[in-house]
């Protein structure tokens, strides 16, 4: 399903990443996934959090630049070739991937993916009976 992801623009300065998590931790917001895309000059922290709207407000108050984008989250079996099959579905539907990040442990791999046609991707995944992670699994209400 479509999930809200927060992205935070960060200059490459020591301690800056820690400050973000410090703010979120202090506000009792849980981070369930994150990744940092980096260049020599700046980085973009992307993360899935338990209360995206509140997290956004809190970070904004602390003068971080925060944006919300929509990503898709799904699970695949933790076996060789499983991710390949999933991505083949997207390629066949001509859906472009902007980035993804993920992690496997035990029997499953969890993937967060940003693509150019999220609604279409969700439909394709449902058609192929892939296990989609819904926001209720990740957010706190």
């Amino acid at each position: 399903m479509i999930i809200k992801q927060l992205s935070v623009f960060l200059e490459n300065k020591a301690g800056r990443l820690h400050e973000v998590f410090d703010v979120l931790g202090g506000a009792n917001i849980n981070v369930s996934a994150c990744s940092v895309a980096d260049t020599s000059e700046f980085g973009i922290l992307r993360m899935i959090v338990s209360e995206p709207d509140r997290a956004r407000e809190i970070l904004k108050e602390k003068l971080f630049s925060v944006n919300v984008s929509e990503i898709i989250s799904f699970a695949t079996p933790n076996t060789p070739g499983a991710l390949s099959k999933t991505l083949e579905i997207l390629a066949a539907a001509e859906i472009g991937i902007e980035y993804l990040y993920g992690f496997s442990v035990g029997e499953k791999s969890f993937i967060a993916l940003r693509c150019d046609k999220p609604e279409k991707a969700v439909m394709e995944f449902q058609r192929h009976k892939l296990e989609l992670i819904s926001s209720s699994d990740l957010y706190k209400f």
Binding site: E41, F64, S69
Partner: protein
Amino acid sequence: MTNKIWNPHFETMSREDMRQVQSERLRDAVERVYYNVPYYREKMQSQGLGPEHIKSVDDLSKLPFTVKQDLRDNYPFGLFAVPMSEIIRVHASSGTTGKPTVVGYTRADIGVWSEVMARTLTSAGAGKNDFIQIAYGYGLFTGGLGVHYGGEKIGASVIPISGGNTKRQLQLMEDFGSTVLACTPSYAAYLAEAIEESGIKREDLKLRIGVFGAEPWTENMRREIEKRLQIKAIDIYGLSEIIGPGVSFECPHQCGLHINEDHFIPEIIDPETLEVLPEGELGELVFSTITKEGLPIIRYRTRDLTRLNFEKCACGRTLVRMNKCTGRSDDMLIIRGVNLFPSQIESVLLEMDETTPHYLLIVDRLNNLDTLELQVEVEDRFYSDTIGELQNLRKKIQHQVESATGLSVNVKLVEPKTIERSEGKAKRVIDKRKLF
């Protein structure tokens, strides 16, 4: 829309006639300073110059420059060209660094001042039926009294309220039905806010024109003031060393400030080489007063940066136009031999939707080559979550700056609100080269 012209003879004169007027008056002015001001005489003599060498405006560039320090060195009255018995007024600018600069006016000078301010207010659209609320400071500062004389000359009703006391400003604006507000642009912005907060309804005010100057302001600020006060905001320019307000003024077309060049001849020079620059080039504005008696001043370096446009304006005036001043020559940097004014960067950033005018320029020297880094804050909504978009934005800013300045620059996007804010003079440049 075109307003009336106060003095069509001089304001719409052909370029050729203007040159003649200027040449005649310049000859006269040079003679006066040579014979009456020892400072000018010595300076001219040391360069082998006499009044006979100045025949027309073409000879102006032979004359030495005058700078603010010269006024301070001759404090208080050393540069006056008439006996004190002829001086009927002195004004002085605040001396933030040392002694104030003192200027003196004869009765004829006050007449010139009234004339150029009458032109200014007429051009702004004011006339004898207007109420002009003058919220520039009165006193040693030239702003208040300068507008005052112009207002009286055109027959308007002048309200000499002076600056400050915002509550009373609003009360008189409403009760007297002020139609013209004259003050600094920052005070105008402040008054706009105060009006909104006071609960006064806009329809109860008759305000229609703003005459704003005495400090630099941007086009964005103008649009903001015009929108909030629902007026036409006219930019005026002046400096006490030349006469005060009234040196140049906008017409309703807002396409540059017409210089009263039958009284003040402008030149644009390169602030480094001091060479006169070709028409249309950006450089430091220099003025020579050609009618002033009390304190005639030759080739005064204003430190303000602008360019001149000699084309006839849609308003009908032929008076040369100067652009809104974009910065100060004191701020000029020389990067790899190219002159760079921080204001050039600022205008690029103001024009782009994605960027804010908050920036920091860092100049350094690596392997004998100057490097230029531009740190810039991006408008919040443009901080994307993809590297590609941010890199493209970086390239776009880089490209815009390069095409505006001719210098390659390394653009660095920084987090919002991390560049120091300042009410007055913001620190925009760090030149690390000076350390070596």
